[in-house]
Symmetry: C2
Subunit: 432 residues, 2 copies
Amino acid sequence: MREIQLGIVGLGTVGFGTLTILAENADSIRKKLGFPLRVKAVCSLDAKSLKFPMSVPVVTEDWRDVVNDPDVDIVAELIGGTTVARSVVDSAIAAGKHVVTANKELVALDGVSIWHAARQRGVTLAMEASVCGGIPIHAVLREGIAGDRVEILFGILNGTSNYILTEIEKHGTPFAQVLAEAQRLGYAEANPAADIEGFDARNKLVLLASLAFGVKAAPSAVATEGISRISPIDFQYAAQLGCTIKLLCSARREGEGLFLSVRPALIPKDTIIASVNGSYNAVWCRGAFGADTFYYGRGAGALPTGVAVTSDIMRLAREIQTSNGERVSPFAYTNVEEIEPQPIGHQKRPWYLRFRITDRPGIIASMAAVLADHEISIDSVLQIPSADKTNLPFVITLETTAESNVRSAVSKMAAFDFMVEPPLALPMEKGL
Amino acid sequence: MREIQLGIVGLGTVGFGTLTILAENADSIRKKLGFPLRVKAVCSLDAKSLKFPMSVPVVTEDWRDVVNDPDVDIVAELIGGTTVARSVVDSAIAAGKHVVTANKELVALDGVSIWHAARQRGVTLAMEASVCGGIPIHAVLREGIAGDRVEILFGILNGTSNYILTEIEKHGTPFAQVLAEAQRLGYAEANPAADIEGFDARNKLVLLASLAFGVKAAPSAVATEGISRISPIDFQYAAQLGCTIKLLCSARREGEGLFLSVRPALIPKDTIIASVNGSYNAVWCRGAFGADTFYYGRGAGALPTGVAVTSDIMRLAREIQTSNGERVSPFAYTNVEEIEPQPIGHQKRPWYLRFRITDRPGIIASMAAVLADHEISIDSVLQIPSADKTNLPFVITLETTAESNVRSAVSKMAAFDFMVEPPLALPMEKGL
């Protein structure tokens, strides 16, 4: 079989990690493929100053030199973002190159139309590295459990926020302090909004939902709530309920529709997903036939993500050798249907409500009256003793209730004059 | 694209599970494939008495009718064993059919030569269901993390033994009693040897080692020890050491060689692999580049295993549509090297030694002298108080030591007259 030639655009963390693996793991890769793979051309704005782990014939600062190189079979787009990256991907496809990308933002936003362009041109799009770098979750959903019908997909898809929640739980340190420390250590970015507000995670959820359910939703249509209001006391109450708290990405089939959300949720401690701590990522699936499966690994990093890129390159190289064109859709389904998620207000869950109040007689009665007005059943009332009667936390858990009903009751309760801050309402995932 | 036609030989648990999924999940399967799949022929000795979930043109008691049906593209061998199953697989390949099998015994024993025959004939062999039915671990190792080089693979590959260990740990019930209860409930077979002595697990380990390392070892060459000597007190001591005990299937690269073993081992409780309880299966990999990943799900069962078979069928159906012949080796590597595992005596681990003794002064001194003679360093000595001085359990943990050295010291210690039973020696896996 002939040698397959590779072009890489972008030699940042992931690009250089990929180059490192292609060099240092060349022997194992060759033994798996049975034919040679060669890096023909790379593009980087600081290519001149980099030391390469192998000899590369073409080193350029202009991505067009890579995309238009007639020898190049596969282009790996590893620069990120949605502007230049988009041009690189579009031009590579137009030039008849197969494309590997690690760009979650681009594929969550517009992957389906990029894929359609690739099909039209008879080339393949691969994107394993775009979600959960170290976990081969695309391979799993696209082929490994293709025979199943996923009913629920849960993800812990953002390492930074999971690290922060783990630290709050472990040390009882307030959110702001943990975040500042994480920023100091380089685990969180100077502008942490994408991580802590759930925007990064929801791009990933939208992508995984495509693979698991064959649908495309706009990231902005996903009900999203960050972790900044989670405090150590919430972990204490959660523990009383046998739970921990995770920033849970959730896609749940219900009838013909799909509920999509990214937000903190209570998870029973004795489930495997509760044991995902620190900066790790994980995906948990409940299939209609295959029951529960769970996948865990590094979410990011030069080498874990580089493994995903390299594995994609190997897959495309094999497909080039044995066939012309696409063998399996990068989105698992041959047609990805554009959908609006189900209105999240219709989703029924048990709920955790945490209040901070100025204590006085009659508070429980007032709250219970509001819940009764909304026909919501109380499951339990929890109060950890505290000396501070002007900022007293307590918790009410609710039986399974539609979210819109809970939100309406909570906004009523927020207006009580004894309320120190707006109530915190988190869904609870039981029965996992 | 044309319709792909399927023949199924064997309609036991897995066969009927597969048929159920092909019928009930037909819509989702069709949406993923983009072309029709049809069950053309099935063979079962009690085919006449079965009620099928779809109409099947050919229902027979002779597997040759399936294998020789000119319409059939893919044959699924789901009868198990190594005699008739072997004939079915060989004949199907000879007839130019692609083959899906769920038969771990057959592929662990002789999968490589079956695969070579398939290559020669230009057809493909798929075997996702042969290990960890519900976990798509073949897809992961073959393609998902193909770019990595696996350094260590740990598996919990036998649900029955994991269920028994979990029950001993949870309730403090002795092994024999838990086994009897498991047999009564149908979780363990009347002849439980394959499960509790590790023979089932080692077939699976041999197969996974092929995929992870590109080598084939004889199952009989794997150092294998069952769980029947694990008692509740071992879990108490393990807990003092921050550990639990699992029947651990281990494949560990060391230099050019590979250590393979199946036996109870201590695993730190704060690792993800320690949280695999009950009848679940799991695989944990440490890659040279991708760091640690972990895969978890049902090990058996009609529908989880049926998902694996169905996913394999879908993969082959796609390969038939887009190409001729094999795209990727079922063993991940294009060449599987026959190896002898490294002699397990050379493997260095920390050790847990548990003794039952008749108490008297000088015992620790005698034991310590034997260890000193073997130049083995003691890490800790643990003793949980007990009233029974004639059957007193206590534990010595050792620093990292070659297994042959530990075995030699242990056999010396077994000869002491105060020893109530032979010492139990378990490796400890730290630093996961």
